[in-house]
Subunit: 221 residues, 2 copies
């Protein structure tokens, strides 16, 4: 069997942990806005015009995903700001703690967190009511900037090999913060312990994907 | 005659001052990237989720205009970064000097400069070679975030009338910086004095439009 068969075979779903539509969309839209803010900061502070030009499409993709999620809030009869408001504190805290000390760390944050959170919300989205689920999951499959961001980071590391250990450390720190945000995005039942056991394989998969992202840069997770 | 007839009647063109295609596109794409950076900073630093949500579509429009201009560079056989590079110094200087001291001033910069520069580049774009001119001018007519940004500023001034005099002063300062950038975007001939005379009516119109933008906020230009 090919490796991708294995990945499909072990794919565990999160649908029993999916929050109600309004909660899902409010958090998802605000998380996506935060991902956009990180990318736009990476663009603004990029050290070269070439890096700015390369990050442009990633920024456009991020804001268009946010708009698609915001449109879903409107379609469900909600107000975009009211739906997002309950989640600003937890997401702003994540944004601050993952900001990074310089452009390279910011870019690393963008590279590592976008795919992780896309994957998480796509899995949770599969548990939404049938009339909106497929449309919302499709937003998360509408494209990824990961290869392009990874390429920028690889070039940076090649040009300055001393970056590698710093970015490896930063990547290890990011996974902790991202897991916290991911856990807060699930609706937990009353039997927390058995919920944890059932959710664990998903977090294992999300962490494995994180490790592959680090591998691609030649870094140890 | 209606007011809009008058406006059409006095419209002066700038086609004799249009730079060669590559120069035009390089500067225009980098200016548009700067306008995006200002808007994304306004979004990131917005004082409320409602303001963030309102600015989202403006940000998306700005980055999509940039991408359309970048695509034109590629179509003309150029490299996006190489085309933009000669203009980074003058545009970065403009960005720094028009950044503003807080969110309200940043938003004012976005509101006042985007329409001004769209108008300038649409007029210059009319002088480009026929095979690309209409397509490039259409990018500048693809939408405007001005009414929405103006509404945010009006609400802010209503909520805090003391903002009015500060923003009026900021608006008066911005017009000077924006005119400098506009002048640098024209290709001047050898007879600078007669060029100045012929371009003057255009700058008069651009300033009149600036005055109307200030009027709409109840501010004196």
């Amino acid at each position: 069997r090919s490796r991708s068969d294995d990945q499909v075979a072990i794919r565990v779903d999160l649908v029993e942990f999916t929050p109600p539509l309004t909660e899902f969309l409010g958090r998802a839209a605000y998380v996506q806005l935060m991902l956009f803010e990180n990318l736009s900061r990476a663009l603004s502070t990029a050290p070269s015009t070439a890096a700015k030009a390369a990050i442009g499409p990633a920024v456009e993709l991020a804001i268009s995903k946010h708009r698609a999620l915001a449109d879903e809030i409107t379609r469900a009869g909600g107000s975009i700001a009211t739906a997002m408001d309950p989640y600003t504190a937890e997401v702003d805290l994540f944004e601050r703690s993952t900001q990074g000390a310089d452009w390279y760390e910011t870019l690393m944050t963008c590279y590592l967190t976008a795919g992780f959170l896309d994957d998480l919300f796509a899995r949770l989205g599969a548990g939404l009511p049938a009339e909106s689920s497929a449309r919302i999951v499709a937003i998360y499959h509408s494209g990824t900037a990961e290869p392009m961001l990874g390429q920028q980071l690889q070039s940076a590391i090649e040009a300055n090999p001393r970056l590698a250990s710093r970015l490896a450390m930063w990547g290890r720190r990011l996974v902790g913060d991202t897991l916290l945000l991911a856990r807060a995005s699930l609706t937990w039942g009353e039997n927390h312990r058995s919920d944890e056991e059932r959710a664990e394989p998903v977090f294992t998969e999300l962490i494995a994907a994180h490790t592959r992202r680090m591998d691609r840069l030649g870094l140890t997770a």
